[in-house]
C-alpha cells in the first residue's frame, strides 16, 4: 500500500509530434533532449527540444531521407556531445548537432540498426570511446569513432547458422581500460555476452521470448546486474557478479504484470538498484532490486553460485495509450526522464521521492 515514501510518477510535459518516434536521449549537460523518429513519407528526423519552465520548445530539426531508429551520446564527451545514430538502411552516423553535420558516416550493416549503445565518452568512464550496434542482419559491430569505415570488432553468426535479428545491445563491465563486455539480445530469445578483451563469447542463454531491451545497471563498474526485457510482459534481472561454470548467473524473472511487450528498461543513473520498465500498454513501472543477505553461496563442489535477490515494485503509472518505446533518465537531475511512445507523444516525466530509496 502507498506510504509516505512512495515515489510518484507524473507526466510533467506532453508534446504531440504527429509522426512516429523511436528514440529519445538527453543531451548531456543541458536541459535539452533529442527525439529520433520518422515522418509518414519515410524520411528520418532528429529533433532537438529544450524544456523551459514547463514547456517544450523545438530548437532544431534535421531531416534526412533515411529513417533513423536509435541514437546515443555514450561515446561522446560531455563537451562535444555528438549523437551517434543508426538508421533503417544500416548506416551509422555521428552528428555534430551544433553544426548540423555528420562527422562520421559508415554503412557496414546491410539492414536496419535496431539498437545502439555508446561508452567511453566521459572522463569518468574507462577505456576507449566505442559504439556498439545491433542489426537485423544478425551482426553486432563495435566501432571506435577514431577509426573510420571499419568496425573494431564484429560479432556475427558462423557460416551456415541462421542469422537472428539483433534487437538490443548494451555495453558494460568497463571498469578499466582493457575490460569491456557487450551483451546482445536477439529475436529468438538468445542473450549473448561477448567479452571484448578476450574477443570471445563469455556466456549465453535463451529467455524464450524475443529480447527487446537489455541494460547493465552500470557500465563502468565490474559487472553487477543485468536487466533484459522480453515480449509477453516478462523481464529478467541477472546477478552477474558470480558466474557459475554450469549454472551461469542467478536470475529473477518477473512476469506478474500482463502488460504486453516490455519495450525498454532503464536504470536510474543516480541509484543503480532502481530501474524503470516501459510496457506495451503504456505503463511505466518503477522497480527496486533487493539484494539477498548473501550474494553467493558455495555449493558441494566448492564452486560459488549466485543467489538471486528480490524485486520490489515501487510505483506504476499508465502514461500513454500506446507502447512506450524509449525512455531516458537525465544524468544531472534525479527523477527527470524523457519518453517517447507510439502515440506520437514525447513526454517529460518526473518521479519524486527517489532520493528516499
Amino acid at each position: 500500500m502507498e506510504n509516505q515514501d512512495t515515489p510518484q510518477i507524473i507526466t510533467h510535459i506532453e508534446h504531440n509530434l504527429n509522426h512516429s518516434l523511436f528514440d529519445c536521449k538527453w543531451i548531456p549537460c543541458s536541459a535539452k533532449f533529442v527525439v529520433i523518429g520518422c515522418l509518414p513519407k519515410g524520411s528520418g528526423t532528429i529533433e532537438i527540444f529544450e524544456i523551459t519552465s514547463g514547456e517544450i520548445n523545438k530548437i532544431k530539426e534535421i531531416e534526412r531521407p533515411n529513417s533513423y531508429k536509435c541514437g546515443t551520446f555514450g561515446a561522446s564527451s560531455d563537451i562535444e556531445r555528438r549523437l551517434a545514430t543508426g538508421d533503417f538502411k544500416g548506416t551509422l552516423e555521428i552528428w555534430d548537432l551544433e553544426k548540423t553535420c555528420q562527422v562520421y558516416i559508415t554503412k557496414e550493416h546491410t539492414d536496419i540498426i535496431n539498437s545502439i549503445d555508446g561508452i567511453g565518452g566521459n572522463t569518468f568512464n574507462c577505456g576507449a570511446p566505442e559504439l556498439v550496434t545491433g542489426s537485423r542482419d544478425g551482426t553486432v559491430k563495435v566501432w571506435d569513432p577514431r577509426q573510420r569505415g571499419k568496425p573494431v570488432a564484429n560479432m556475427q553468426p558462423m557460416k551456415g547458422e541462421i542469422k537472428r535479428d539483433c534487437w538490443a545491445v548494451a555495453f558494460g563491465n568497463s571498469f578499466n581500460d582493457a575490460e569491456r563486455i557487450v551483451v546482445a539480445g536477439y529475436d529468438n530469445g538468445d542473450l549473448k555476452m561477448f567479452d571484448l578483451r578476450t574477443m570471445s563469447l563469455r556466456w549465453e542463454c535463451n529467455l524464450r521470448n524475443g529480447v527487446c531491451s537489455t541494460e547493465f545497471d552500470r557500465k563502468d563498474i565490474p559487472m553487477n546486474k543485468l536487466v533484459a526485457t522480453t515480449l509477453e510482459g516478462k523481464f529478467h534481472v541477472f546477478d552477474i557478479r558470480t558466474q557459475n561454470p554450469t549454472k551461469g548467473f542467478a536470475q529473477v524473472l518477473d512476469n506478474s504484470t500482463k502488460s504486453g511487450t516490455i519495450w525498454v528498461s532503464r536504470h536510474l543513473p543516480q541509484n543503480r538498484d532502481i530501474f524503470v520498465t516501459c510496457a506495451g500498454n503504456g505503463q511505466v513501472s518503477l522497480w527496486k532490486y533487493e539484494y539477498p543477505e548473501q550474494r553467493f553461496h558455495v555449493d558441494g563442489h566448492g564452486v560459488a553460485v549466485g543467489v538471486p535477490g528480490k524485486l520490489n515494485r515501487l510505483q506504476r503509472m499508465v502514461i500513454s495509450s500506446q507502447p512506450i518505446n524509449a525512455l531516458d533518465w537525465n544524468k544531472d537531475h534525479l527523477g527527470l526522464a524523457v519518453a517517447t511512445a507510439y502515440d506520437q507523444y514525447v513526454r517529460v516525466i518526473v518521479t519524486t521521492k527517489l532520493n528516499l530509496h
Binding site: Q8, C29, S30, A31, C101, T123, G127, P129, V142, L336
Partner: protein, 503 residues
C-alpha cells in the same frame, strides 16, 4: 476516520513534494543553460588506443642491459658501491620521462587534426568530381575548421562556390587563400574568374597579371586576360561613368597604369636632378651597364636551368660597348607602348636570371601567344635535367615544331629516362613522337632509334604504350622502317622496340 485523514495528508504531501520538485527543476534548467553557455573550454582526454590497433601501437620498450651484479663475496667492489646513487636510480625509474609525453600528445593532436582535415579534403575533392558542390563545401568547411592555415582548403571551397555561382563567397575564399599563400596560382585564377563574372574586370585582370607574373607560360590565364581586355575595351566606353565595382586599394596602381595605356596622353613628371650617389649607382655619364642586384623569392625565379656565363675581367677605365640586350629591351617597349613603371621593373628583375630569357619572356607576355613567337636559337637552348624544366620549355615552344625538334635534339637520349622519371604523359609522348618523325634527320645523337628506345625505357612506359593513338603507331612504324634502312638498326632491336610499343 484515521485512514481518511492519512490519505488526505498523503495527497497534500505529494502535491507539496511535486511542487518543490518543479521549483528545483526550474532552477536546474537555468543552471544548466548557464553551464552550457560556459561549455567552450578546451577538452582533452587521454584515451586508450583503438581496439584493433592496440598491438601495433604498443610503445617500444627500451631494453636495459642488466648491470653486472657484484658477487656477494667481492668485498672490495661492495666498498665502492654508491648506495645513494643506486637508490636515486630506482626512484627515477618509477617517475619516467613525463615531460616528453605531454609534448608528444600536443603534437599528436595537431597531427590528428591535420589528418582529419586531409581526409575531409579528399572527401570534398571526391564530391567535386561528382559535381556535388554543397556536399563538397560542407567537407571543406570541416577541414577549415580543423586546420585554419591551409590555403588549399579555402581555394577548393572557393571553386565550389564559383561553380554554385556564389561569386562573392568564392571571391572571399580565394582572398583568404591568397592571404595564406600569395603565390597560389589556382586561387588567383579562381578569384579572377569570380571577379570577371561579378563584373569587376579590372580586379580580375590584375589577378591574371599576377598569375602571368608567377607563371609566364600560363596559356589559360593569358587567354582569359585577353577576353577581359576585349570586354573592357567594349565596356569601357559605355560604363566609364558608372564602374560596376569600386576598385580596392591593391587594384588602384594597376588601374592607373591601364588608363594611361589606353590613352596615349602621357603626363610628364617633373625631372628631378639625381644626387651624385644616385648618379654613381645608376652609372650615369659612364659608358657602362650597371647590373642591379635582383631579389626574387624562390617561386618567382625562372625555372630554367642556370646558364654558365663566362665573366671577363675588364681593366679599370676601359669600358665595353653597350650590350645588345638593352636595345632589344627598348625596342620591345617601344612596340607595346605600354611603358608603365611596373612593367619595367619586371624586365629589370628578369634580367638577373638569364639574359636570353628576357627577350622571350617579354615577347611572350605582350604579343599574342601561339605560333610565331620568337624562339631561342639552338645554341641558346639548354638541355633539361628534370621533367619540370623540360615541360616548361616544351610547352613554351608549342607551335614552333622546328624549335621543338632542336630542343629535343640537344637532349641526350641516354638521359631521357632519368629526365622524365615517371612524369611522362601520353599527350606529351605523342607530341614527342610527331616531332621525332617530322625532323628525323636532325637527331644526330644516336638517331631516331636511340630516342625511341629511350622513350621505351621511361618508367611506366607500358601504361603509356596502351594509350598510343593509331596515328602515333603509324608514325612509329614509319620511324622503325626509317631506323632499319637509314640507321642500320638490327632486326632484333627493331623487334624489341615493336614489342615495347605493343604492336
Amino acid at each position: 476516520m484515521e485512514k481518511a485523514f492519512e490519505i488526505q495528508r498523503n495527497a497534500r504531501d505529494n502535491v507539496k513534494s511535486f511542487q518543490t520538485y518543479l521549483t528545483d527543476l526550474q532552477n536546474w534548467e537555468t543552471e544548466m543553460k548557464r553551464k552550457e553557455a560556459a561549455l567552450h573550454g578546451d577538452f582533452e582526454q587521454d584515451l586508450p588506443p583503438v581496439r584493433s590497433k592496440v598491438r601495433k601501437e604498443r610503445p617500444v620498450q627500451v631494453k636495459k642491459k642488466p648491470e653486472n651484479r657484484i658477487p656477494s663475496s667481492d668485498y672490495k667492489a661492495w666498498e665502492k658501491f654508491d648506495v645513494d646513487k643506486a637508490c636515486e636510480e630506482v626512484d627515477m625509474a618509477d617517475v619516467g620521462p613525463a615531460s616528453l609525453d605531454s609534448k608528444k600528445s600536443e603534437v599528436n593532436k595537431q597531427e590528428k587534426f591535420r589528418d582529419e582535415a586531409q581526409y575531409e579534403k579528399e572527401r570534398g575533392n571526391a564530391f567535386v568530381k561528382q559535381n556535388k558542390w554543397d556536399e563538397a563545401i560542407a567537407c571543406y568547411n570541416r577541414a577549415i575548421e580543423l586546420v585554419k592555415d591551409d590555403a588549399i582548403y579555402y581555394a577548393n571551397r572557393g571553386l565550389c562556390y564559383l561553380k554554385k555561382d556564389s561569386l562573392h563567397q568564392a571571391e572571399n575564399d580565394c582572398t583568404e587563400a591568397l592571404k595564406l599563400d600569395p603565390t597560389y596560382v589556382k586561387a588567383l585564377q579562381r578569384r579572377a574568374t569570380a571577379r570577371e563574372r561579378l563584373g569587376s574586370l579590372r580586379a580580375a585582370s590584375s589577378d591574371l597579371n599576377e598569375v602571368i607574373k608567377l607563371e609566364p607560360h600560363n596559356a589559360a590565364a593569358k587567354r582569359q586576360l585577353e577576353t577581359i581586355k576585349t570586354r573592357m575595351g567594349t565596356k569601357g566606353a559605355k560604363s566609364k561613368s558608372s564602374p560596376l565595382s569600386t576598385p580596392t586599394l591593391e587594384e588602384k596602381s594597376f588601374t592607373k597604369a591601364k588608363t594611361e595605356a589606353a590613352k596615349p596622353k602621357v603626363i610628364e613628371l617633373p625631372q628631378v636632378e639625381p644626387t651624385p650617389l644616385e648618379k654613381w649607382k645608376e652609372g650615369l655619364g659612364e659608358n657602362i651597364t650597371v647590373i642591379k642586384t635582383v631579389k626574387k623569392p624562390p617561386h618567382l625565379r625562372s625555372k630554367r636551368a642556370l646558364k654558365h656565363i663566362t665573366i671577363k675581367e675588364i681593366p679599370l677605365g676601359c669600358t665595353v660597348p653597350k650590350p645588345k640586350i638593352i636595345e632589344i629591351d627598348n625596342l620591345a617597349q617601344g612596340d607595346t607602348n605600354n611603358n608603365s613603371d611596373t612593367k619595367k621593373d619586371i624586365d629589370l628583375s628578369a634580367k638577373g636570371d638569364c639574359i636570353q630569357d628576357n627577350i622571350t619572356e617579354k615577347v611572350g607576355g605582350n604579343l599574342v601567344h601561339g605560333v610565331g613567337h620568337k624562339v631561342p636559337p639552338i645554341d641558346k637552348m639548354v638541355a633539361p635535367v628534370n621533367s619540370v624544366q623540360f615541360m616548361n620549355e616544351w610547352k613554351y615552344l608549342r607551335g614552333a615544331d622546328e624549335a621543338r625538334s632542336d630542343y629535343l635534339s640537344i637532349i641526350d637520349p641516354k638521359k631521357i629516362p632519368a629526365i622524365f622519371a615517371n612524369a611522362l604523359e601520353s599527350d606529351v609522348l605523342s607530341e614527342l613522337l610527331r616531332t621525332l618523325y617530322e625532323y628525323k634527320d636532325k637527331f644526330t645523337l644516336g638517331g631516331v632509334g636511340a630516342y625511341l628506345q629511350a622513350f621505351a625505357n621511361v618508367k611506366r612506359f607500358s601504361a603509356l604504350a596502351m594509350f598510343l593513338t593509331d596515328n602515333d603507331k603509324l608514325l612509329i612504324n614509319k620511324m622503325l622502317v626509317h631506323c632499319k634502312t637509314k640507321e642500320a638498326l638490327s632486326d632484333d632491336e627493331v623487334a624489341e622496340l615493336k614489342n615495347k610499343y605493343e604492336f
